[in-house]
Amino acid sequence: MSETTQPKKAGQIITWLVAILVALAAFYLMNHAVMSMQGLPLNWNLTPAQ
């Protein structure tokens, strides 16, 4: 494996990790928002708060 491909691969892994984290955070917040709007609040771990 050449020296240039290794940083490239690391960069790709970081890109994917960041993208996954962004998507996870967005959907997590969306779940809270959608359920709260219906009067069905959730705990931090997404279990029903009522």
Binding site: A19, I20, A23, F27, M30, N31, L40, P48
Partner: protein, 626 residues
Amino acid sequence: MMMFAIPIRISLARHLGTLLATAALIGFVCFGFAATASAQPGDRGTLIVFADEQGAASTNAASLLPAPVLQRDDYPNIGVSSRSIVWVIAQMHLFFGALVLAVPIFVLVIEIIGFRTGDDRYDDMAHEFMKVSLTAYAITALFGGTLALALFLLYPQLMSYLTRAFGSQVLVYAGLFFLESMLLYIYYYGWNALRYGNRKWVHLTLGLLLNAVGTTLLVVANSWTTFMMAPSGVDPETGAIVGNIWEVMKGPLWNPLNLHRLIANVAFGGAVVGAYAAFKFLSATTPEEKAHYDWMGYSSNFIAILAFLPLPFAGYWLTAEIYAYSQQMGILAMGGILAWLFVIQAVLICTILLAANYYLWSGMARSEGSERYRWAIKYIATVLILGFLVWVTPHNVIYTAAEAVKLGGGNHPVLGPLGIMPAKNIAVFLMLICTFLSFQLYRRADKVIAVSWQNWGNALMASIYIVAILNIIFAGVYYGYFTNTVYKVGSSVIQVMSTLVVIVAGVLIDSLMFRGARTLHVSWGRVADRSQYALFALPITFTWLMALMGYVRSSVRTHWHVYTVVRDNSADNFIPTLQTVGNMVTLVTLLFLAFLLFIFWIANLSGTRQLPITVDADAAGARVGT
């Protein structure tokens, strides 16, 4: 010039003839309304005036007539089931009405795209779509008039009551119908005369007006339907009309039905013109024709599926409002005898999704760039088939005692949980996401993306897919099976939103990533003939589905003409057997398809020109010489 003008005039005259016939029918309908409005519902039509504090009894007397209490002999007996007659005619009118109101909507959008891009192909395609719609228009009007006549003849007292409820709104409807007819003919026949420059703006404005009037017609007619399901503006005790026309119209189900029908009509219209394109593709003789109709078929499929994707959400809203209005009504629809029809609905929707996906996968052959994405097809197909199997699994089946003992209860120990809504919701939303993925891959197939941030874009898009799918499964399994009912129902909104996020994000990210992208050559017409049969499958399935679910929507009124207000006491005041429903739904579907073939034939005929009859000079000379 005259050679072209004469056929156009003949054609115009033929359509104007139909227009006049329609006008006569509308006039007759209005006369019928006026006549029945003044009719008294037999000896039960006694005028009841409630305690009238305002002392306006004389002026309000007509509006305070109670709802008629009908007896069996109030219904004319013509020896055939009145319900069956009205069922067939009403369904045919709805099919054609849906088609002619929906086609101008996407035709206008296509025309705008053609105007903005300066590509005449869009304009030609939009014009050809209108040709199909125009022929269907006359049939719509004829079925509408026939339906009105059948209703006045077979249900006179009910129509008298409905006339009191809606009053002069019926005349507004007739006026709108005239306006719609005029605009439609000017829009179609003025297409080439108003094609370029400022004149195009006039034509686009006409299209906009046509759609505004058409959509108003739709929502007005919807108010009659929803009034019968969930009446508003009436006294609940007597059924007397106490509200004004606006209060009568804006019942709780009106807007959900408006949205649902509007979207469904566009999907249906797209599917029907797609079948027309497939018909023309298969009968095309030149590569140019094949390329044109292949592109037309692709565009139709795109319209049909784009409208179809948000349809479940509109359906969800309508059903939720039905439940909110009357739990009994909701449970009858989805938990009682009618629930079996939802299993058939599942089969039909899955057929639509499979056909649409198959068409897209076949269409990938048009572009060499599709090789990059073909690997994904088998995974998408697997999810679609698994989703289909889950969706079609019934919760319980009627078993014999021996079978129930063998099974260990009423539900199958493994498949039982798949019969309830949480599992079906997961299946439906994953199938919708997969269908969108097919679209996205198809759109990307002929592009070489050039933006510098394409790795970020692809990673984000893929992450949204992965997390949305996991979120849908999590919400369905956890809230659906391990929490209380309120959270179970509420969590379906999470699934709806997750699906919408994928669709919206997909469109947004792709539109940004396609900037500066290199477009690969697309060989229109290079598609297998068998893919065209998927385009035929779409309208057939859509038609069947509309007939089936339209019956369910109407049938939840059970033994009421107007729910809880006007009781149905005719010989047909019962929910028919599922076998009868299946036969009727199939009958109207086949009838509509037969009419559709006629329309395609007529549309094809209008573009056919006979060559002049030439006499062979030598043969003629020989005959003269003998």
